[in-house]
């Protein structure tokens, strides 16, 4: 008799099982790749699931043009290393109207991400999309299914979600319907970090502290990542030792002051910290049930 599998090995096996089920049952799967640490873990698991073959689906980055420069660099490198096709999609309407986080507030996320995602899925005819969301991220995610069904218009209908028993996932759907699949559902933030550490997975350097040009605005520390950042009168970028706990569009993502420059130090800081992960994201502060509402509209 051998030792029982560790929690990370069980989570890994479960995620691999989910990835394979989708590939076996869906016609045209895709992996949504947002370049964050959860995406990095999900991509790593996909490589494991189908080894020695490369993962039999493309990566899709629904881009806003406002991500950190470091993210774009890692994105291209990671896709090439995995031997996978990378599809980068920009919502042409958002592009044409010059939608940006400075002028357009909630519309920025709505047009680039929510609408962009729907357009990309329709354009390429993807019927199953992997996403890196976890149930521990937020109260409303706690009851999210691993296989989440969307109507032909991408709406999430709470009444049409299917019970998930044992390891049995029902991936059947009518023409036009699609599923979003969350292989990391049962992972916590700590699990993700521990796994990155254990497996030596490359993540964006922004997760580690470094001196970076920043401004403090509305309670968030924002990084001035390129010259499109609009300084308000009197604002002067200051170099602070900061890192990011979560990554999104750089003008919307709050940094934390930190001295953690290695992975163990990041984990140490995470364990000793006293605020929850998503606080650094401006998007969640809009309204109480914001995530639930966004989900119904088709946001991942």
């Amino acid at each position: 008799m051998t030792e029982p599998l560790t929690h990370l090995r069980r989570l890994e096996a479960e995620s691999i099982h989910i990835l394979r089920e989708v590939v076996a049952e869906a016609e045209r799967p895709v992996m949504l790749y947002s370049v964050g640490k959860d995406s990095a873990v999900m991509l790593h698991l996909a490589k494991k699931a189908f080894f020695p073959a490369p993962p039999p689906f493309p990566l899709l980055h629904v881009d806003t043009t406002w991500k950190f420069r470091d993210m774009y660099a890692l994105r291209d490198r990671a896709a090439a290393a995995a031997g996978m096709e990378l599809i980068v999609y920009h919502n042409p309407e958002a592009m044409e109207r010059g939608i940006n986080p400075f002028d357009h507030g909630g519309l920025h996320t709505d047009l680039w991400k929510t609408e962009g995602l729907k357009q990309a899925l329709d354009k390429y005819g993807f019927d199953a999309a992997f996403g890196g969301a976890r149930r521990d991220e937020e109260k409303s995610r706690a009851k999210e299914r691993i296989f989440s069904f969307r109507t032909a218009t991408h709406r999430w209908d709470p009444k049409q979600q299917r019970p998930e028993l044992w390891r049995l996932y029902n991936a059947r759907k009518a023409k036009g319907e699609s599923i979003r699949v969350f292989p990391l559902s049962n992972w916590t933030e700590l699990d993700i970090w521990q796994y990155i550490h254990l497996e030596g997975i490359e993540i964006v350097p922004l997760y580690f502290s470094a001196p970076r040009p920043t401004v403090e605005r509305d309670g968030l520390i924002l990084m001035v990542d390129d010259d499109r950042f609009r300084l308000r009168p009197g604002e002067v970028p200051q170099v602070r030792p900061v890192r990011f706990r979560t990554l999104g569009c750089y003008p919307l993502t709050g940094a934390v002051e930190s001295t953690a420059t290695t992975l163990p130090e990041v984990i140490q800081e995470m364990l000793l910290t006293t605020t929850s992960e998503r606080q650094g994201r401006a998007i969640d502060h809009d309204q109480a049930a914001s995530m639930e509402k966004k989900k119904q509209e088709g946001y991942f």
Binding site: M1, T2, P4, L5, T6, H7, R9, R10, E12, A13, E14, I16, H17, R20, V23, A24, K47, K48, A49, F50, F51, P52, R135, D136, K139, S140, A142, K143, P158, K159, Q160, Q161, R162, P163, E164, L165, W166, R167, L168, N170, R172, K173, A174, S185, N186, T188, L190, Q194, H197, P264, I267, Q268, L271, L272, T273, T274, T275, S276, Q279, A289
Partner: protein, 634 residues
């Protein structure tokens, strides 16, 4: 309220993070379910576990303190229930209240808690949550003792095969930590547990609100010698160890063929262990081979065990694809196509015995038919009740037939090869969860008797090609009239025919059936079987049945030889059929004297692509009959 600080980082994190990480990479995982209602303090208990295991951050705690003052039921104290509830908001948003999964970890284990709030749809949610749990915490309010719901929760827990049961007698603070109260409840529960076959359980007196016996033994219960809840959850043996001791089984998920030199079978090992060189058997085909490699991204493994996702290479080029099971050659699982099962119905639409559903077990998906339930179980009294069908949240025992043989194990031996779901073929909804008891001997003993005079002989003697002209449409659409003319015309052409009429069949073969959805399905199934026998005899069969459901018409189509089923939609609008009302039935139905009348209070699903469509507002019955015959005999 004990004064636990908001967050107590372990000293090791601050002092030696590398040592901490090393220690935490060897944690195991336990999944458990909490059973009880809000009144029993379930949310408070879960909130307390999250809080005491430091899973709550300062911002969450601040929000919690504010909410507690505003909404809480505990005065100035923190109301832990608010951490996990959020139910009011969900109700307002019209979101189904079902299983929520929560996470916490201690130094020894990671825990996943399935939390199933609410009373409505309790069975469905609890069964879903229990299906992946190794352990169940059954909460009892010390002031109330063993209640009907305690019995219900225990029964469902046992039904889903959970081996570890914790009886958490909560709110001990409200009964003065009285040992006699605790002992009385435990004795009551033991008597009940024995009666349903729960062998063993661990009882713990707790207070979720005050924190007694949650993380450590409480000074308020000096008479209690057992472990506190969290230490017990940390030390209970995980089922995985047991799974490893069973014979090897791996349902094949996916066949990996990256190039001509590699062919691997990917799957998650359901039970047992495996080494290269082991002999294996592929089920249901029964072919044998030897494992040459256990391939993973991290290199080939010398050994793999239950719970791991791997890719296997075999020595021989044998047939093996998704849905098959690779098993230990000397101890393979059984193979059969008829089973006795327990079904838990999970859909708003009731079970329709006789209708084919998709059945998914392991990675196999097959077409399956549920026979009439033998009985339904009243989950409050555990009495067996007669039942013709199963509706939402009902549990019953029924036999199931699959359209081909599948590899399986009794659920008691294997969740992975004994648990299945049923999927509606039209809506694709997961409508039921099931557990296999055993295979029916019948399927092994009744073989198809080959006859010497084949269906081709029969047809050749009659000098015709057998067919079923299936007329479907509303009551009063003109089905019987047209069918009758078709048969007369075919008889004149020396064709051998037989007309099966809906009303006539209900006088004999189907006189035991009514007009509920379930009975309508059985009605059509029997007529389909009769029509099939008649086509085997070489006849052209004409049927005139409302046959309102697409699924049943599709079922009959599947029974027939390809091309022999001709669906004829006698398309008469409801208003027109009701205007004609030849038998006066619409009038009765409108007056409420006839229940389940198609078109009035029972649906008609028109064919989407019938072979023939007859618009009776444009065509006489004579012309319709000619059109049908022209299609049949061009």
């Amino acid at each position: 309220m004990t004064d636990t600080p908001a967050y107590r980082p372990e000293a090791l994190i601050a002092e030696d993070i590398d040592a901490y990480l090393e220690a935490h990479q060897h944690k195991t995982m336990l999944r458990f379910i909490t059973c009880g209602s809000v009144d029993d303090g379930k949310s408070t208990l879960i909130g307390r576990l999250l809080y005491d295991s430091k899973m709550i951050f300062e911002d969450q705690l601040a929000a919690l303190e504010a909410d507690s003052k505003r909404l809480g039921t505990q005065g100035e104290a923190i109301d832990f229930a608010l951490l996990v509830d959020g139910l009011a908001a969900e109700r307002e948003q019209g979101i189904t209240i079902d299983v929520a999964y929560r996470f916490f970890a201690t130094e020894k284990r990671k825990f996943i808690v399935a939390d199933t709030p609410g009373h409505e749809q309790y069975t469905r949610n609890m069964v879903t949550g229990a299906s992946t749990a190794d352990l169940a915490v059954i909460l009892i309010d010390a002031r109330k003792g063993v209640l009907t719901q305690t019995r219900r929760h225990s029964y469902l827990t046992h039904l889903l095969g959970i081996r570890h049961i914790v009886l958490a007698v909560n709110k001990m603070d409200l009964v003065g930590y009285d040992q006699a109260v605790f002992d009385g409840i435990v004795a009551d529960y033991r008597a009940f547990a024995d009666s349903i076959g729960i062998g063993d359980f661990v009882a713990i007196p707790i207070s979720g609100f005050k924190g007694d016996n949650i993380t450590a033994a409480s000074a308020n219960t000096p008479w209690f010698a057992g472990p506190a809840l969290l230490p017990h959850l940390e030390s209970v043996e995980v089922d995985q160890t047991l799974d490893q001791a069973r014979p090897f089984r791996m349902p094949v998920q996916w066949v990996s063929r990256p190039n001509l030199d590699f062919r691997g079978f990917a799957g998650l090992i359901a039970s047992g262990m495996l080494r290269p060189g082991d002999a294996v058997r592929v089920l249901p085909s029964g072919r044998t081979s030897t494992v040459t490699r256990i391939v993973t991204f991290d290199g080939d493994l010398p050994q793999a065990v239950a719970g791991q996702s791997v890719t296997l290479c075999l020595a021989d080029e044998i047939d093996c694809s998704r849905g098959q099971v690779i098993a230990a050659a000397d101890a393979p699982p059984q193979v059969a196509d008829q089973f006795e099962t327990t079904l838990v119905w999970m859909d708003e639409t009731e079970l329709l015995p006789g209708r084919p559903y998709w059945l998914k077990i392991g990675t196999q998906t097959v077409s399956a038919t549920v026979l009439h339930p033998k009985y339904q179980i009243n989950i409050n009294t555990l009495d067996h009740l007669a039942a013709k069908t199963l509706d939402l949240n009902a549990i019953g025992v029924a036999n199931i037939t699959t359209d081909r043989e599948i590899a399986f194990e009794p659920y008691a031996d294997s969740r992975d090869l004994g648990g299945f779901i049923l999927i509606d073929k039209m809506t694709n909804a997961t409508v039921a969860a099931g557990m296999i008891h055993f295979a029916l001997r019948r399927s092994q003993n009744i073989h198809w008797q080959a006859t010497d005079i084949t269906r081709n002989h029969h047809a050749a003697l009659k000098n015709q090609k057998p067919a079923v002209l299936w007329l479907t449409g509303l009551s009063g659409a003109g089905k019987s009239t047209i069918a009758n003319i078709v048969e007369k015309k075919l008889a004149r052409m020396n064709r051998h025919t037989f007309l099966l009429d809906g009303d006539n069949v209900r006088h004999g073969l189907n006189k035991d059936l009514g007009f509920t959805d379930a009975d309508r399905v059985e009605n059509i199934r029997r007529v389909g079987e009769v029509a099939k026998l008649m086509t085997d005899a070489g006849l052209i069969v004409i049927t005139a049945f409302i046959s309102p459901f697409r699924a049943e018409r599709e079922m009959v189509r599947q029974m027939m030889q390809p091309g022999e089923f001709i669906e004829v939609h006698i398309d008469t609008p409801l208003a027109e059929a009701e205007r004609r009302d030849v038998k006066g039935l619409y009038k009765k139905a409108r007056a409420g004297q006839l229940k389940n009348f198609t078109g009035i209070d029972s649906p008609y699903e028109p064919p989407e692509a019938p072979e023939i469509r007859i618009d009776t507002t444009q065509m006489s019955a004579e012309d319709a009959a000619d059109a049908i015959i022209r299609w049949l005999i061009p």
